[in-house]
Symmetry: none
Subunit: 134 residues, 4 copies
């Protein structure tokens, strides 16, 4: 049963928020399953209102491309097929740095994305969240 | 500072999921702020994929109408202005039973919505979640 | 590995089209996976252009509601949450008779939908297609 | 009667999937008619979920421009009229390499698109599928 669970999602959020606090920044974090559907999402106090959305959209990009960190997908964003995906998801896919894949036993089970810091901070926070799973 | 916090959102989710488990049902739960933007959302294992979406849409309906439980809004759904709101939010507003307002010191600070049970079960779970705040 | 395969999809289409020919009608047929994503779809000569779309939308409705034949979902179509789903899927969900679930070992793995005949004919054709799998 | 038929579509899919297997890759393939409406579409096991969508969007681009292989259309994607078409079709048109026209007796009757390989692999597979017709 290598699927992502509610418990996984909540643990990942907690670890990610702890990391953000240690960096003294405020973020939104989202965990999606391998199809891109939301498992868990939340944003810290004083976040901008859309950081749950953008953290989720980064995570969506990662699973859409089969598990590639969203920061490695940015050049693809301008391609016509990427535009197809953007419309299919009503804009809710963002190939921009901040999300990393979540794997269990080597299998892609989802992704976690962060928004609110620099791209690198966001990705680091997501990586901490992902490593809290398993 | 009567605003909804990340801590509020997480406590509400936990209480709501505990209530769902006591009813032996599986649900998605979402907490939004007074503007309708997502504070926290998650779904239990074996949920349908869209229960985070529909729980959120119910909560959105409640704050959109100034704090009315979503179950009291269903008859308005067919009105032209409700259709305007439906399109403005790309369908992500559902005036259907399952969400209740969250207030602090009498002030509306957000709403919590649940999806997965009957309308009454969803509303009961949301009420438990809301009462965990403050 | 109880997932739906390309071979399943093609066998289901063939069986469905054979049934349609025996009824002397022309249809479009679509097979989706458990998340509602397209596995296989085609339409017979002289179909209306959108019968691949509507057969798919019926199948999507069936899996969206966890495996209920689309003909049993029609009364839900007017509910606010159904409107949320309609918008989330850009209109590509149709809770109208013609689709049935596909299960393997009791597990929902997808659905098959048909468009072009009466609702009952469509459902009968889909049932023949589904029974060609496994 | 130089129109594309169900039989054409199914033969093209079979030939395209056989070619993909010979290249040891996994793809989705779609055949559309001269209007861009779907005739037949399917994806191989282990495809990403959206490869039916993107293969179709490439085929749509080819017929939309009167029969030009989608790989020759990429530079047009940024033009205002192309953006108009993109919105008209809710993003479901992708002027990116992978689709070729289908002609009968010199007349454009449709297009076939492939997604999942490199652009060149996708186009090669589509060409094999197209040559299986007639």
């Amino acid at each position: 049963m290598p699927d992502i669970t509610l418990n996984d999602g909540m643990k990942a959020l907690e670890a990610a928020f702890a990391k953000a606090r240690s960096l003294n920044i405020v973020v939104g974090v989202s965990v999606v399953d391998a199809r891109g559907d939301l498992v868990a999402s939340a944003r810290m106090d004083d976040s901008l209102w859309w950081w749950t959305e953008s953290s989720r959209a980064k995570a969506m990009a990662t699973v859409t491309y089969g598990g590639i960190p969203s920061g490695e997908l940015t050049e693809r964003a301008a391609r016509p097929v990427a535009q197809t995906l953007l419309h299919m998801h009503q804009g809710r896919i963002a190939p921009q740095q901040g999300a990393v894949p979540i794997r269990k036993g080597g299998k892609l089970v989802g992704a976690i994305g962060t928004a609110g810091g620099t791209g690198q901070e966001d990705e680091d926070i997501s990586a901490v969240g992902a490593s809290a799973i398993i």
